[in-house]
């Protein structure tokens, strides 16, 4: 087995050398191995992320684009465990490591060790701040702001807003909320009259909204962070209040409820979130880096937005209990790299 690996390795080296002398082809990365280091798999978004990774990478391996693309998830969502996992991946000789990190800073030691060993490190979603790594970041602030842009367009008169936030103390929650507040500052006809933490979960959101509703004036819009729209709708319904415009977050139950309302009374809203398939974008970016492409260290992921017109199409493609998803292709990655 050992000898076999060595032969493969030396063959790989020979292949790379050959590739350098010949004109670069698509299969330049055919002998490269990419690993996914993931810190958590305990919710629908992460499950969809892993499924997308598996789907796209197994096709890529079959087509000979890369030699292998294995996914590793730590058993517990802990920084020290993921640091050890990254060190193991270095030992296993991967050429690139794609990371969804448990902490933006605390993995830097392990990431720097990987870089020192000549391994390309690409972080996405949960990014790492080590200068030698690539970051595929999500502009969460923009995600919050976009909601206000939509509201301002569809409700020029403005009104009272209820904000549902995510998990307290998490960076993502602060960013989205900051974006929402920035949007409100720019559109002064809107006013946030209440704010609750829904922890990105329908049941928590429903309870939190039901708790605050009796103390609130009439609400015209609900700004959210995803995973909380359906719960909010249920709370409004149970309280017998007029249904406000609730921004959704691409979850299947949210889209389904929206579709029902749309069919019944022409309910209008929009839905925005990050597609779990962003892992596949990270995969293609890693492949491009290994291929020698000049990739800037900071990249930004596009959001996945669902609008009134493509609701049916997106809902049909989303499994029950899952999140609207899109898998990225090599061309998408090239576009993101080019900054388009």
């Amino acid at each position: 087995m050992v000898r076999f690996k060595k032969t493969v390795l030396s063959l790989g080296v020979a292949a790379t050398l050959a590739a350098v002398t010949q004109t670069p082809a698509v299969a330049d990365t055919a002998d490269k191995r990419i690993a996914l280091s993931n810190n958590y798999a305990g919710n629908s978004w992460r499950q969809a992320m892993l499924t997308s990774w598996d789907k796209i990478t197994s096709a890529a391996v079959k087509d000979g684009v890369v030699a292998s693309a294995d996914a590793f998830t730590t058993a517990e969502n802990q920084v020290t465990e993921q640091a050890a996992q990254i060190q193991n991946l270095i030992l296993q000789g991967y050429d690139a490591i794609v990371i969804n990190a448990a902490s933006p800073d605390a993995l830097n030691g392990a990431v720097e060790e990987a870089c020192a060993a000549g391994i390309k490190v690409i972080s996405f979603d949960g990014i790492v701040t080590a200068p030698c790594a690539w970051r595929i970041a999500i502009d969460f602030k923009q995600m919050g702001k976009e909601q206000l842009v939509y509201l301002a367009k569809h409700m020029p008169d403005g009104g009272n807003l209820l904000e549902i936030r995510g998990l307290a103390g998490v960076f993502v929650d602060d960013e989205i909320s900051a974006g929402i507040h920035e949007g409100v500052a720019e559109n002064s006809q809107f006013k946030i009259v209440g704010s609750v933490h829904g922890d990105w979960a329908q049941d928590v959101s429903q309870k939190a909204v039901a708790g605050i509703l009796p103390s609130l004036p009439e609400i015209t819009g609900v700004v959210t962070q995803g995973g909380d729209g359906y719960g909010a709708a249920q709370a409004f319904k149970a309280a017998g209040r007029p249904m406000p415009l609730i921004i959704m977050g691409n979850r299947q139950d949210e889209l389904k409820w929206w579709k029902e309302q749309k069919d019944a009374n022409g309910y209008k809203t929009m839905s925005v979130s990050i597609a779990p398939g962003v892992s596949t974008l990270a995969f293609w970016v890693a492949q491009q880096i290994l291929d020698g492409a000049d990739v800037p260290k900071e990249l930004t992921v596009p959001f996945l937005r669902v609008d009134q017109d493509d609701l049916e199409e997106k809902l049909a493609g989303t499994e029950e209990g899952s999140v609207a998803n899109v898998e990225y292709s090599l061309d998408d990655a090239k576009k993101v790299i080019a900054g388009k």
Partner: protein, 312 residues
């Protein structure tokens, strides 16, 4: 039959080294690349903070108590290390000394009020976590340069971690197993009443062991940020259970002052390597925690087996 008894004791004390060797061989077999300076360094460097945390836990277990707050404490130390210790070293050192004093005071409180250590330390774990969040609300900070250099120092021959762990294990071994006061302290765990009758202060013994635990907790936190370069309040929550498992795996017992410092360090390394071993085996994460538990059970079953043959 008499000649058999010491050999069973010997077997028992050799068990931690044996388990470590087995895991190491298995890893070398699965991943030949690990069999190098570079590989050993990568495999073992995260074991040093765990070894320190395990020694801290062992100090508390020596006097028949259990520390459920050590993980949060290490996290707090890491946060202090990545902020104050870096920006104003004097303040940082002062705070860390205060931490050790706080641990001694905790030992005194537990003894004087006759409180269950589990309750006090569990309560304190929330206190430490809260403090850590106050010091460092979002992950970040920067480890002091000298800590970073010390932890990335490449010693000749073998990775620094191995030298450091061996040194610490030996120092603690001589302090607790070979010195006369060490015997008294272990006696507090074994038979406190007779130790008291002999004229020794149990309060003093408990306070010094808790202070020592605090000291090792500080070392654990500082060495951890030397590896990670920055801190996170939740960085070491796992250390609480890991440290208890490390002590037991290393031949210690929950009661009776029966401990083994060398074993505890070996136990911490075994646990670290066990996780790597399972990941090299490519076991699904859903099963990994269970598999880690299975390794623990196997080692403990071996120990019971050795104990039984010893009694016959």
């Amino acid at each position: 039959m008499k000649s058999f008894v010491p050999s069973s004791r010997l077997l028992r004390s050799l068990l931690p080294a044996f388990s470590l060797t087995v895991i190491l061989i298995a890893i070398f077999y699965l991943q030949p690349r690990a069999m190098s300076y570079f590989g050993l360094n990568l495999l073992l460097n995260l074991a040093l903070p765990i070894a320190f945390a395990t020694l801290a836990q062992m100090c508390v277990i020596t006097v028949n108590d259990l520390d459920l707050g050590i993980g949060a404490f290490v996290g707090f130390v890491a946060c202090v290390g990545a902020t104050w210790l870096n920006e104003s070293p004097l303040l940082g050192v002062a705070v860390l000394l205060l931490c050790i004093l706080a641990y001694a005071a905790m030992g005194a409180l537990i003894h004087l009020r006759n409180l269950p250590s589990i309750v006090v330390t569990l309560g304190m774990s929330f206190f430490w976590l809260g403090l850590a969040l106050l010091v460092l609300p979002t992950p970040g900070g920067k480890a002091p340069e000298w800590v970073r250099e010390a932890m990335t120092f490449k010693a000749p021959g073998l990775p620094t971690t191995i030298y450091a762990s061996a040194l610490v294990a030996l120092v603690v071994h001589f302090a607790l197993m070979r010195s006369s006061y060490g015997a008294v302290v272990r006696g507090v765990g074994g038979n406190p009443r007779s130790v008291e009758r002999a004229g020794w202060s149990i309060l003093k013994a408990k306070m010094s062991m808790y202070a020592l635990a605090g000291f090792f907790g500080v070392l654990s936190g500082i060495s951890l940020i030397g590896l990670t370069t920055s801190a996170d309040a939740n960085i070491a929550l796992r250390y609480t259970l890991l440290s208890i498992a490390g002590v037991i795996l290393g031949g210690g017992e929950f009661v009776g002052g029966r401990i083994s410092p060398v074993g505890a360090v070996l136990g911490a390394m075994t646990l670290t390597l066990a996780a790597s071993f399972l990941s090299f085996l490519r076991i699904s994460p859903d099963w990994q925690i269970g598999a880690q538990g299975a390794i623990l059970i196997i080692v403990l079953a071996l120990r019971v087996l050795i104990n039984r043959t010893g009694k016959k």
